[in-house]
């Protein structure tokens, strides 16, 4: 027996997942597939398709694990302490902390981006957000250990790490300095998407 609120929530999930952009991506994938088939022949096309499907099935469990972590961090994180660490007033130290956090965040984009969304929703400063995701992208320890080292060798990996070390902090400083407006998806939703988010806001009110 599904209640009305649950039914609406499920409907919302479906429309979110299969929105307009989904169909654009699907069309793009099909066009690229046809181009690939015509230019490189059916064998390369099938090989590419097989690799892609293996990649997707291999990723699904990791995505589920990463989203569970992000969801739990979202409800467990002590927001006020956190925003003191990398919030608007955190200064240069906040950028260094965000960079260090990016280096040690394990897992692929499926863990880093949901965590970034959590930080944004918890009031992290824009410079810290940019520094975190840049640091995770260029300096992420897991990628260096699993990919850089075996493919490019130790000397090259170490050189790349040392040369790129200051870049996330630089990016954070630029992000603070740029006069661009920023409205995150998390902040923009005044009426909560779901009962989950509704009780989020409610219990936050209760705590105050």
């Amino acid at each position: 027996m599904i209640s009305e609120a649950n039914r609406q929530w499920l409907l919302k999930l479906l429309t979110n997942g299969f929105g307009k952009s989904f169909w654009w991506f699907l069309a793009f994938a099909i066009v690229m597939g046809i181009v690939c088939h015509q230019l490189l022949g059916p064998e390369e096309f099938q090989a590419a398709l097989r690799e892609d499907l293996e990649l997707v099935t291999g990723m699904l469990p990791r995505v589920i694990a990463a989203l569970t972590v992000a969801g739990m961090v979202w409800v467990l994180l002590p927001r006020d302490q956190f925003s003191r660490l990398i919030g608007k007033e955190s200064g240069f130290r906040g950028l260094v902390i965000a960079t260090a956090a990016g280096v040690v965040t394990p897992g692929g984009p499926a863990s880093a981006y949901p965590l970034l969304a959590v930080m944004g929703g918890a009031g992290a400063d824009r410079g810290a957000l940019v520094a975190y995701i840049t640091s995770w992208a260029i300096l992420g320890m897991q990628r260096i250990l699993v990919w850089d080292l075996p493919f490019m060798g130790a000397e090259f990996s170490l050189m790349r790490f040392l040369i790129c070390l200051p870049l996330p902090i630089l990016a954070g400083l630029i992000a603070r300095w740029l006069p661009l407006s920023l409205s995150l998806v998390e902040e923009r939703q005044p009426q909560p998407l779901s009962k989950g988010a509704a009780s989020d806001a409610q219990s936050e009110g209760e705590r105050k």
């Binding site: 999930l13 979110n16 997942g17 952009s21 989904f22 699907l26 994938a29 690229m32 597939g33 690939c36 490189l40 892609d52 990649l55 997707v56 694990a65 990463a66 569970t68 972590v69 992000a70 969801g71 739990m72 979202w74 409800v75 467990l76 394990p106 692929g108 984009p109 949901p114 970034l116 944004g120 824009r126 940019v130 840049t134 260029i138 897991q142 699993v146 990919w147 850089d148 493919f151 490019m152 090259f156 050189m159 790349r160 040369i163 790129c164 870049l167 990016a171 954070g172 630029i174 992000a175 661009l180 407006s181 920023l182 995150l184 998806v185 923009r188 998407l193 989950g196 009780s199 989020d200």
Partner: protein
């Protein structure tokens, strides 16, 4: 690999058990959020990854590697950066391309520009994660903040290598 795996699968178990042990609705709220994000991300992820696989096959790696040698200097850094921008897929493809470049004699500066550009811009990540979870205004801020970094990284590498050669010669 096994340590990474242990963290990836251990962390959700530890966090979820802790949330459950609170005996309030913490666990349920966390899971609700996870399920919402899953529904938002996975259909797009499927299409984007399939498309990325095809695009990666279409990039003329061998041809590009001819322009990345040490003698090309700053031009090689630019070409490395642009190639990095164009790779819309994960580390498997990006690093095998980097290895192809390295084998063909690409300069370190061009390789570092390539890897930095790919890690920063990776188009599939932007589409699959960044736009749905953070929004276009964050993407704009981030891209304006980081677009010079790959070239900067390449130039710094070139400077370091030149200085190193100069030191070891004299």
């Amino acid at each position: 690999m096994s340590v990474g795996m242990a963290i990836i699968y251990g962390a959700p178990i530890v966090l979820a058990s802790y949330a459950l042990s609170r005996r309030d609705d913490t666990f349920r709220r966390g899971m609700t959020r996870a399920v919402e994000q899953f529904a938002m991300l996975v259909p797009r992820m499927f299409c984007a990854l399939v498309a990325a696989g095809f695009v990666a096959k279409l990039i003329p790696t061998e041809f590009i590697s001819r322009f990345l040698g040490d003698e090309a200097g700053i031009t090689a850094i630019f070409i490395g950066t642009v190639t990095g921008l164009a790779i819309p897929s994960g580390p498997v493809v990006a690093f095998s391309i980097a290895a192809t470049f390295a084998k063909a004699g690409a300069a370190d500066s061009a390789l570092i520009a390539f890897i930095t550009a790919w890690t920063i811009f990776a188009f599939h990540r932007v589409i699959i994660y960044e736009i749905p979870l953070l929004g276009v205004s964050f993407l704009r801020l981030r891209l304006s903040s980081v677009f010079l970094l790959p070239i900067l990284a390449g130039l710094m590498t070139m400077g370091v290598t030149r200085a190193w050669e100069w030191v070891s010669v004299s």
